[in-house]
């Protein structure tokens, strides 16, 4: 079954017949009759051993194109044009024919490794099942092959992993198992749809290296669907940039990223935050007071007190420690970036700062007032001085309330404004976040992701807080939208002068937003200091690891380098 291991081939030798070639591919979802199709006239091809990146923002049709070819789309979707896989036309093949292709000749790896494995069966059972169903292998043969596959995707202790259950694996390990499953039938094409989006950067780097290695060693053709230009730069040979259902540019990755021809590609690249590109726009307000020793500021001394002072904060969930002995200060008008991977405790720290989470020990003071021991009722009058912007604007807005009602709710609670005066305040808030005041009658689902996040920001700023906690406010958004939201936050901070605790996993975003940065790992603060110093000359080895793992658009394009 296995193909003999091929020696890594040179780029020049790869000029062979592509395994997958799509021409004039069109995908139209049901209900799109009146509008443009999801994919319009897409041409692409990928050769054995090649990694093709299909890059674009949400709604660009990058997933629709590949899923349309494999028939993994809602019933009633029209797929037109042509897609040839190893000499066989896939368009018009029908569900029965495609079922024979999927998993065997073209395999797919999805974004969410957490939900794509069945929790009640062992990893080994699930791998063997694939081998038995698709290839009719016997139990012993399937076991041996399963083990071989796990070794292939770089999981150590394969024998033990086979007996284990999915919950015993980390996210990155699960994604490796998913890739192993996809490789089970030795497919000609592997389609990876945002395979690393749900993973931490240090884990992402490993998965990308694995995919690259599989293309080189096994000669599998890989179609990598991603929104992240840094990922493209790291692993792809060629790239197709999609925008609104069409391919606007394609070519060698070095050429497209280095000298983009199409205007959209240029704009997309410009909106990608870059490490080390800290410019005047991202510089903190000049009047921000130095915060280095503000821990000494006496509480209750009015304006002198920092917006947020956290001392020796610990949070335990049962026996698990989420945050352990963290001290951090945010001065008024200052932005402090809080960086860490999932499970580092950065979000828990943020929730403590807004009083949504009760600390196990330590103190949290907002504008000099201690909030850590307060009951919910006593906390309520203090709410107006600290507000939060959440990660996912789709779930942080009540779907049953109009945007106007949402913004009016806290205003009515804390302010005297009623009737027309209240309406004017709501309109002013929407204007503050650059939205049309007439939009106040709409419901959240009638907004785009970026607009929703603007609404969430307006809601947080309604009470003119002294401290804004922004927990990954842009990680659910497209890069160009992220750019606008970051711009907006910077501008609003300059106008209103609130202190900001900016939580993010993305070092480049943090560099752009904050004057100081704190790095968390496993609940502890490992490093803190001025942003420029921490990012250019990190003291802690973990900070260094994070910096190295961060995907970068400017990374020297591989192979041709």
């Amino acid at each position: 079954m296995t193909r003999p291991e091929e020696a890594p081939r040179r780029r020049e030798e790869r000029e062979e017949e592509p395994v997958l070639r799509a021409s004039g591919l069109t995908v139209r979802f049901p209900g799109q009759e009146g509008h443009g199709a999801a994919v319009r006239g897409l041409d692409l091809h990928v050769a054995p051993g090649e990694v093709l990146a299909l890059v674009g923002e949400s709604g660009s049709g990058k997933s629709a194109a590949t899923m349309g070819v494999l028939g993994l789309v809602p019933r009633g979707t029209e797929v037109g044009g042509s897609a040839v896989l190893g000499g066989r036309e896939l368009v018009g093949l029908g569900e029965r024919g495609l079922r024979g292709i999927r998993g065997r000749r073209a395999a797919v790896v999805f974004q969410e490794p957490m939900t794509s494995l069945n929790p009640v069966f062992t990893v080994g059972w699930q791998l063997r099942e694939v081998l038995r169903v698709h290839l009719g292998m016997g139990r012993a043969a399937a076991h041996a092959r399963a083990r071989e596959l796990l070794e292939l995707v770089g999981l150590d202790e394969a024998e033990r992993r086979l007996r284990g259950y999915p919950h015993q694996l980390s996210g990155g390990q699960r994604q490796r198992v998913m890739i192993a499953m996809a490789l089970a039938c030795d497919p000609e094409v592997l389609i990876a749809d945002e395979p690393t989006t749900a993973l931490d950067v240090t884990v992402q780097a490993g998965i990308l290296r694995l995919l690259r290695g599989l293309a080189d060693r096994l000669g599998t053709a890989i179609v990598l669907i991603t929104h992240d230009m840094g990922v493209v730069a790291g692993v792809a040979d060629r790239v197709v940039v999609m925008h609104r259902g069409e391919a606007v540019e394609s070519g060698e990755v070095g050429r497209v990223l280095g000298a983009p021809r199409h205007d959209y590609t240029r704009r997309l690249l410009a909106s990608v935050p870059r490490l080390g590109a800290s410019s005047a726009a991202g510089a903190p307000p000049a009047d921000a007071p130095p915060a280095a020793d503000s821990g000494a500021a006496a509480p209750g001394s009015g304006d002198a007190a920092p917006a947020l002072a956290v001392r020796e904060l610990s949070v335990h969930y049962g026996s698990a420690v989420a945050v352990s002995g963290v001290s951090l200060t945010v001065a008024r008008g200052e932005t402090v970036g809080l960086v860490g991977e999932s499970g580092s405790g950065k979000s828990t720290l943020g929730r403590c700062a807004v009083g949504l989470q009760r600390p196990s020990s330590g103190s949290v003071a907002v504008c000099g007032t201690e909030i850590s021991g307060l009951s919910r009722r006593r906390m309520r009058p203090l709410r107006r001085s600290v507000q939060m912007v959440f990660q996912d604007p789709a779930s942080s807005l009540n779907p049953r309330m109009t945007v106007g009602a949402m913004l009016a709710e806290p205003l009515r609670r804390f302010g005297p404004a009623r009737g027309a005066a209240l309406d004017r305040r709501v309109e002013a808030l929407l204007e503050d976040v650059r939205l049309d005041p007439d939009m106040r009658h709409r419901y959240p689902h009638q907004f785009s992701g970026g607009q929703r996040q603007r609404v969430a920001i307006a809601r947080a700023l309604a009470l003119e807080p002294d401290l804004l906690v922004a927990d990954e406010p842009t990680s659910a958004l497209d890069v160009s939208v992220q750019d606008e939201i970051l711009e907006l936050l910077t501008a609003l901070q300059r106008e209103k002068g609130f202190g900001c605790l900016f939580i993010s996993h993305d070092l480049a975003v943090v560099e752009r937003m904050s004057s100081r940065v704190a790095v968390m790992r496993g609940g502890e603060l490992v490093e803190e200091g001025p942003t420029t110093r921490v990012l250019s000359d990190p003291e802690h080895p973990y900070t260094r690891t994070l910096l190295e793992a961060a995907p970068s658009v400017d990374a020297a394009p591989r192979a041709t380098g």
Partner: protein
């Protein structure tokens, strides 16, 4: 893949749901309009036409006292619908606040409410309803109360589950961070978002309550003769089934159609209100 269809249009587009809606509207309407729609007085006795088979004068025949069967079925539907709906509304009035509190105050309220609910649930629905009705004494109001109490656990469980799920949503965190008190969080942010699930549960609960009412009346614990009710009619038709089968068949068919209508409507609503259904 935009959701252009509203839930109402999706319900009407689903054949079973549309049929359920039509059947429910027809039978509930006929029952509520019984005083206008009935061709005869349901209590008018006629000793010259005992056990008359269906005819032009009495389309569904007459009973052992010569009363018009069609008129009695219309009034019977009225009693069934009123008692069934009243019972479920009473149950919701008790179950919604309790479920809301249990799902939101997980430490204090939930253990107490949930354990009590489990205890009530341990009794089969009909056994509980019959037992309570027997204790309270036979009357239509007591029947509604007994059925309502036995309906509480189902609605409470749904409400608690929804409150539990929704209190983990970010918009609830955002409301708390915005200074919202418990009442605002519960009634402005959680309850409206649970409305769909509650509506479905209530629509499914009504036919169960109607069946229960018919059964209680059949056993003599609900509506009392001579007031017409589907259960009373079925009960008195037992002894004469061989001579006058229409006395059992027509009320039976009416009961089946009524519960079928509500059940189809409930299923249709569940599909129509499911946001994932929007893509179909």
């Amino acid at each position: 893949m935009t959701a252009t269809a509203t839930p109402a249009r999706r319900l009407l587009r689903n054949p079973a749901g549309a049929f359920g809606l039509a059947l429910t509207v027809l039978l509930v309407g006929a029952g509520l309009l019984a005083p206008l729609a009935a061709p005869h007085d349901p209590a008018a006795v006629g000793f010259d036409r005992l056990y008359a088979p269906p005819s032009w004068a009495s389309p569904l025949g007459t009973d052992e006292l010569g009363r018009d069967q069609l008129s009695r079925i219309l009034y019977g539907l009225r009693a069934s619908v009123l008692i069934g709906v009243a019972a479920v509304l009473m149950a919701a009035a008790v179950a919604v606040p309790l479920g809301l509190a249990a799902g939101y105050y997980r430490r204090v309220v939930d253990p107490v409410v949930s354990r009590l609910n489990d205890a009530v649930m341990a009794f089969p629905f009909l056994v509980l309803a019959v037992g309570l009705a027997a204790i309270l004494g036979p009357s239509p109001v007591n029947a509604a109360v007994a059925i309502g109490v036995s309906q509480v656990p189902n609605i409470l469980r749904v409400m608690r589950g929804e409150a539990l799920r929704l209190s983990g949503e970010q918009f609830v965190d955002a409301a708390v961070a915005g200074g919202a008190g418990d009442a605002a969080v519960l009634f402005r942010h959680i309850l409206p978002n649970a409305a769909n699930a509650l509506l479905v549960q209530v629509t499914v609960g009504i036919p169960a309550a109607i069946i229960a009412e018919a059964m209680l009346s059949f056993l003599g614990l609900g509506v009392q003769p001579p007031t017409p009710s589907l259960g009373v009619m079925l009960s008195s038709a037992q002894s004469t089934f061989a001579q006058a089968p229409w006395l059992a068949v027509f009320p039976g068919v009416a009961l089946v159609l009524l519960t079928l209508g509500f059940n189809l409507l409930g299923d249709g609503l569940r599909d129509a209100l499911d946001p994932k259904g929007a893509q179909r």
